[in-house]
């Protein structure tokens, strides 16, 4: 209570009556102000937590089901008449039968197989039966037959994805009532699905394919996955790591330790801080002009995405690294110089190791920021439908690929409601990646931090 106002002479009598245990009006006002301030703080945090909880619950509610998928396993007989009209099992000739042809074989086989189960569902048409499997199934079947032509004419056990609407029924997205109105699924199909599930032919299990599969077209939402997007994102992060970190750290060391303090370095400093606040789309425009139009790099390639994100992350890394270098006490440098180390030795042997935790944290936060970026990728052609996995590095860096945030953006624009679930699932994966990176940053900081 050192800052208690001194009793004023005019009201000395009133003051002396007041006890320290009984707060006077001014103390009460100050205490109330402090309480109010704390309440504002708590409210601010509560709003932030509510927003976060709302965001996470919506995403997890919508997206958790993306990690489960319904599969049908059923034996089908492969009709040799259609698949191999010549009867010589020649792969080159057989590949003339398109996926659509296999679709018809699959339809006929399904009708037979499901007919033999004698399920007795009133009003079930052949079209209903054909519609319960994914269109991806015929592509899988074709691939399997072309790999092993001897399968033609035999009865094989098929384990295929079911149609997105049927899958939605087991996830609660499609109901009997909505199926009445929906032209893409009939209540009979749902009854059939129920009957098949009862016999154990239709099971919902963990969806590994969601992580490994490439994107799929609007007609096969059930087969869409984030495989290509993950590879694209990893490639871009590699490029950013190998370019932004050395360039950023070298630039900061020079600016912080060696560069003379003059007007030019001031200008550079202001520009770096400015660049950190430039909207990311600007870097996309720059990337299009420099890397694609001028340098002639291919469109939609992770190398270009990585270069653009490098430019975007550099200011963040430089600012973080300079702050970390500044935090190393001058006494360390002075001591090193005092025992005869050169300037460079003092920096690399003493200052840099001590600044490492700060540099790593800054770098990882920069990478995490780059990982979630979509806007600059829009202009360099990475916001695209890419179905083929890029090759291994380094050549694969030049193949078209997608990226995780791009995949989310793409899926939210598709018309089939099943893509909402996929988009939320991809967001969950992206959040897990970001969480891991931030945890790593926290761990590294804790592990290497030194105090003076």
């Amino acid at each position: 209570m050192t800052d208690m106002p001194l009793p004023q002479t005019g009201r000395a009598g009133a003051r002396t009556k007041g006890s320290l245990l009984q707060a006077d009006s001014r103390t009460r006002r100050r205490n109330a102000a402090e309480k109010r301030f704390r309440a504002y703080g708590v409210t601010a945090i509560a709003i932030a937590i509510l927003a976060l909880v709302f965001l996470l619950t919506t995403i997890i509610r919508d997206g958790a089901s993306a990690f489960r998928q319904t599969y049908l396993s059923i034996p089908v007989t492969l009709d040799a008449e259609i698949l191999d009209p010549q009867g010589n099992r020649d792969v080159a000739e057989m590949s003339r039968v398109l996926t659509l042809g296999y679709g018809r074989v699959l339809d006929a086989a399904l009708d037979r197989s499901i007919g033999s189960l004698e399920l007795n569902i009133p009003g079930l048409s052949e079209g209903d039966v054909d519609g319960i499997v994914s269109r991806e199934a015929s592509a899988q079947l074709r691939q399997r037959v072309l790999n092993d032509p001897e399968l033609v004419g035999q009865t094989v056990e098929l384990n295929v994805l079911v149609n997105g609407r049927i899958d939605g029924y087991f996830k609660g997205r499609v109901t009997m009532a909505s199926a009445e109105r929906d032209s893409n699924v009939s209540p009979q199909q749902l009854l059939l699905a129920d009957a098949l599930a009862e016999r154990g032919l239709l099971v919902t299990r963990f969806n590994r394919e969601f992580i490994t599969n490439p994107d799929a077209s609007d007609q096969r939402p059930e087969a869409a996955g984030i495989g290509v997007a993950i590879i694209g994102s990893v490639y871009m992060m590699l490029v950013v790591l190998f370019l932004a970190v050395p360039i950023g750290v070298a630039a900061s060391i020079y600016l912080e330790e060696f560069a003379p303090k003059n007007r030019i370095t001031d200008i550079i400093e202001v520009n770096i801080s400015n660049l950190a606040a430039v909207p990311s789309i600007v870097f996309g425009i720059l990337g299009l002009a420099v890397f694609i139009n001028f340098a002639g790099l291919p469109q939609s390639a992770p190398i270009v995405g990585g270069l653009v994100l490098t430019l975007m992350t550099l200011p963040t890394i430089i600012i973080a690294t300079r702050a970390a270098l500044k935090a190393v006490p001058p006494s360390i440098r002075d001591a090193a110089l005092g025992v005869g180390a050169s300037k460079m030795q003092s920096v690399f042997h003493h200052v840099l190791p001590l600044a490492m935790p700060g540099i790593l944290t800054g770098t990882i936060i920069g990478l995490a920021q780059a990982l979630g970026e979509t806007a600059p990728l829009l202009l360099i052609g990475m916001v695209a439908f890419v179905r083929e996995y890029p090759g291994g590095p380094p050549e694969g860096l030049f193949d078209p690929a997608s990226a995780l945030p791009v995949q989310v953006y793409n899926w939210t624009q598709r018309s089939d409601p099943a893509f909402v679930e996929r988009a939320s699932g991809a967001i969950i994966v992206l959040l897990i990646f970001l969480l891991c990176m931030n945890l790593l940053a926290v761990y590294l900081r804790r592990r290497f931090e030194r105090r003076w």
Partner: protein, 341 residues
């Protein structure tokens, strides 16, 4: 020292990247978001059923696609532009200036534009005149041009339900907006006789503009995003009526009901027969100079327009594309590599 090693590696990566603008082995496509789902469906099938790579398909809108198409000839330009409208003369000039003078125009089919609202609400039977009278900024009442202050559909046409007027129409950057203005609003302007009054009062040119000027008091809302945004807006304001593509509606019949236009329900059949009035052709523009240079360009286009794919019983028609009755002519033109004159 390690940092310098890394820097050296990084620099070598840059050097490598400058030289390794390697030959690309898949077709690149960009353009209209309306054509996008059809393009991805065909790209997927093409990748599965041919020895070529799966084409890379980008969205971005017809104008963006055509602008990138016209950037020039070469491996780092796109091969095919998707468009929900015909290429404009100015765009062809830009193309020619950049050396893209041989362009193949491929009409892949037709797309219907439908008016849909939530299943739980009222059903509607519209005519173009209803839309004009509900959404135009100025309408004609008893021969007089007055500002539009109608609030309910039943004020527009006593046969319609007494429901607040609230329409979500495509924004001006969409190809769909052009068709909506042309085939619905302008048509309604003509049908209701408002065009004559406008012409008499304002002159011919201004009358055309007055016809398609939509009211700005919040009854007509421009949607600059895509149909998923329109659907989200309708979900949050159940009195709204949205403008959708036929294929989008067909994939969401669980939540949406469609309004008839002039008494005709939109479907692939009524659109291909021409009974349903609001439809437009969809196009692909192909760079002829890339045929034989980029592997698979011609094969992809041939595959796209083949009867199995774009025909009335193919996967595109399943998805909502109205197949072109003159598909055979298109197939012939693709085989002959006929360019636009």
């Amino acid at each position: 020292m390690k940092t310098f090693g890394l820097t050296a590696t990084a620099l070598s990566v840059i050097a490598l990247s400058a030289t390794a603008a390697a030959a690309r082995d898949q077709v690149q496509i960009a353009g209209s978001s309306t054509v996008l789902p059809y393009s991805t469906i065909v790209a997927e099938l093409f990748g599965e059923n041919s020895d070529f790579g799966t084409p890379v398909v980008e969205s971005g809108g017809s104008s963006t696609g055509l602008r990138r198409f016209c950037e020039g000839v070469g491996e780092n330009t796109i091969d095919i532009a998707n468009s929900s409208r015909a290429i404009r003369d100015t765009e062809r000039e830009a193309c020619a200036a950049a050396g893209v003078d041989e362009i193949m125009e491929v009409r892949i089919g037709y797309d219907g534009i439908v008016f849909a609202s939530l299943n739980s609400g009222n059903a509607f039977e519209f005519t173009p005149a209803d839309w004009f009278n509900a959404l135009a900024a100025q309408i004609v009442v008893d021969g007089q041009v007055v500002a539009n202050d109608r609030t309910s559909w039943s004020q527009v046409n006593p046969e319609l339900a007494d429901q607040e007027i609230l329409a979500f129409v495509p924004g001006t950057r969409h190809g769909t907006r052009e068709v909506f203005e042309e085939r619905v609003i302008r048509q309604g302007c003509e049908d209701s006789g408002a065009l004559e009054v406008f012409t008499a009062e304002l002159g011919e040119e201004a009358a055309g503009e007055a016809c398609v000027a939509l009211r700005t008091d919040g009854r007509s809302v421009d949607i600059d995003g895509d149909y998923t945004e329109t659907l989200a807006r309708i979900n949050s304001s159940p009195n709204g009526i949205g403008v959708f593509g036929l294929s989008f509606y067909e994939n969401n019949t669980g939540t949406l009901q469609v309004a008839t236009m002039n008494g005709v329900t939109p479907s692939t059949e009524t659109i291909s027969s021409g009974e349903y009035p609001v439809s437009r052709p969809l196009f692909m523009y192909v760079k002829k100079a890339h045929i034989g240079v980029i592997p698979g360009v011609k094969e992809f286009v041939e595959f796209f327009v083949s009867d199995e794919i774009a025909g009335p019983s193919g996967p595109l028609a399943d998805y909502g594309l109205v197949s072109d009755p003159e598909l055979a002519a298109t197939q012939q033109a693709v085989t002959d590599e006929t360019v636009m004159q």
